[in-house]
Symmetry: C2
Subunit: 311 residues, 2 copies
């Protein structure tokens, strides 16, 4: 059995206020790193590097601790925790309007890896400024598999740093619109090839409810999204996806093609959990039995020789 | 080996004039039934029921005949062949603007099955008025597997007939927007369930470059679209898809779950061929070696235990 390697994640921990057509919620646990941690911790030990203000609720810290997440790298600074306010007019990410972003202590954040994090082999650079993502890489010198996410803002404002980053990671996760914008290629295969040309061995293009595509070398894997009858809040789906992906890789102990493909399906599982409730509630409430049952459903969705198993 | 059953198709045969950002084409062979016939004829004998005017070019008739398509049911009426004029602002179906539709002899079309078509076991009702689709069903009394397509126009103007139709077919093919509009359900799984409630045993929801979903009972199959570096003309993709789907079913000689799933992949193959050139050119020029090679690529795209085979 392969060693389960701890996963280092750097990203935002936030307090989210989210309105949807049906329901609203205020100052709940959010931020890419929160969704990632709670997802990945189902599979492997997780080490968190982030910052919160002195107002960060103890209950959120307790939740993360209760999942075994190492909070040694969670800085607590004088000031307010990063707050994010958004409204969804529908049930899709495209329906999102960001009402306000209050950076608080995040404005001056520089990631610092505690000594005991520095041997981390698996690293996830969640969506923060590319310059900060690069700062992590200079500290995580033993990393064997580095994955990163990004967002439209950095394509618009920090393109050179993003290009430097893509030359140093093993896996890039982006959504379809970002991939098209970044590369100027209208079709995803061409866009993915252009990103692979920077050096990563894998590019994952996330398409929300249309599933995701994993591009490696000259091969493509098509991972379905779990069909859901409803979505409560799409926030954090991509970060939970990344958590399931890296978690699965840690558990598998390898990044061969087959492991990457299975990991993308686990990513899809965690994404499906994230959107079924506000904040991290559904992810934090899930057990590996939930995860494996959804994984089996995804496998059935791409099986040509159905087992007769019904879901 | 199962008997390869002839496939009966009823639909439009047209002369298309299509503009795309890169290139244009004028009065080329088009219409849902043309794309369907040429796709399905790669797998099985095809029987066409349609109408053209006296101006229908002999070369188009010869092309269809050269593929062994039975033209006994192709009516030739005094007047002009159905003409369709469209412009694409981009490379996707969503970018389409229909500039003009000249029904010509299609305006008075009523499908009549030649005597020797009446034993047809496999029937495809391409996108025409639901009333006409129902007229076919009253003549194809030995049909064992009936599939139908439709379009937004009939959702807007002929909903009751469409509902009658859905109660009498075994398989409904729709695109995602049509399924959402028809059912009022925002999410495809709920929309598909609502359509299955009319009685069909299968619903296929086409999502263009995002692939398609096959819903049967309480199971779902996710078929990828073949990643293409470019699309020349998206016209006819759905009709070619249907041709590959029914063709594969005829060749398999069964409609069990596994056969349906493989058939959807063959649909995806023919859709990918259709969009790579104007009119039916790429489909008509394809051989089964092209088809099987693309099918293998799709299978690899959903395989968790990669064969090491590269494409």
């Amino acid at each position: 059995m392969a060693e389960v390697k701890p996963i280092l994640v750097v990203g935002s921990v936030a307090l989210d206020t989210v309105e949807t057509p049906a329901e609203s919620t205020s100052e709940v646990l959010g931020g890419a790193a929160s969704y990632f941690c709670l997802s990945a911790s189902l599979f492997a030990p997780v080490r968190l590097v982030a910052v919160v203000g002195e107002d960060f609720p103890g209950e959120h810290r307790e939740l993360l601790k209760s999942k075994g997440i190492d909070l040694n790298g969670l800085q607590v600074r004088p000031g307010r925790t990063f707050r994010w306010f958004a409204r969804y007019s529908g049930a899709r990410l495209e329906d999102r309007l960001t009402l306000d972003t209050q950076l608080g202590v995040f404005a001056d954040f520089h990631p610092t890896l505690p000594h005991r994090y520095q041997d981390s082999k698996l690293v996830f650079l969640a969506n923060i400024q590319p310059e900060l993502q690069l700062e992590v890489l200079s500290q995580a010198r033993h990393a064997e598999f580095i994955a990163c996410d990004t967002m439209k803002l950095w394509l618009d404002t920090a393109l050179p740093a993003l290009e430097r980053l893509f030359r140093r990671v093993h896996c890039v996760l982006m959504n379809d619109e970002e991939a098209v914008q970044f590369t100027g290629r209208r079709f995803l295969p061409a866009a993915a090839r252009a990103i692979l040309d920077y050096g990563p061995r894998a590019v994952i293009i996330k398409r929300g409810e249309n599933g995701s595509l994993l591009f490696t070398g000259d091969r493509v894997f098509s991972a379905p999204a779990l069909p859901l009858e409803a979505v409560k809040d799409p926030t954090g789906a991509g970060d939970a996806f990344a958590g399931g992906f890296l978690g699965s890789i840690s558990r598998a102990g390898t990044v061969d093609e087959s492991a990457l493909r299975r990991a993308v399906l686990y990513g899809s599982v965690l994404g499906s959990l994230a959107v079924q409730d506000f904040s991290v509630s559904r992810v934090a409430g899930a057990g590996m039995d939930d995860v494996e049952s959804r994984f089996d459903r995804l496998v059935d969705m791409i099986s040509l020789a159905p087992s007769g198993q019904k879901h």
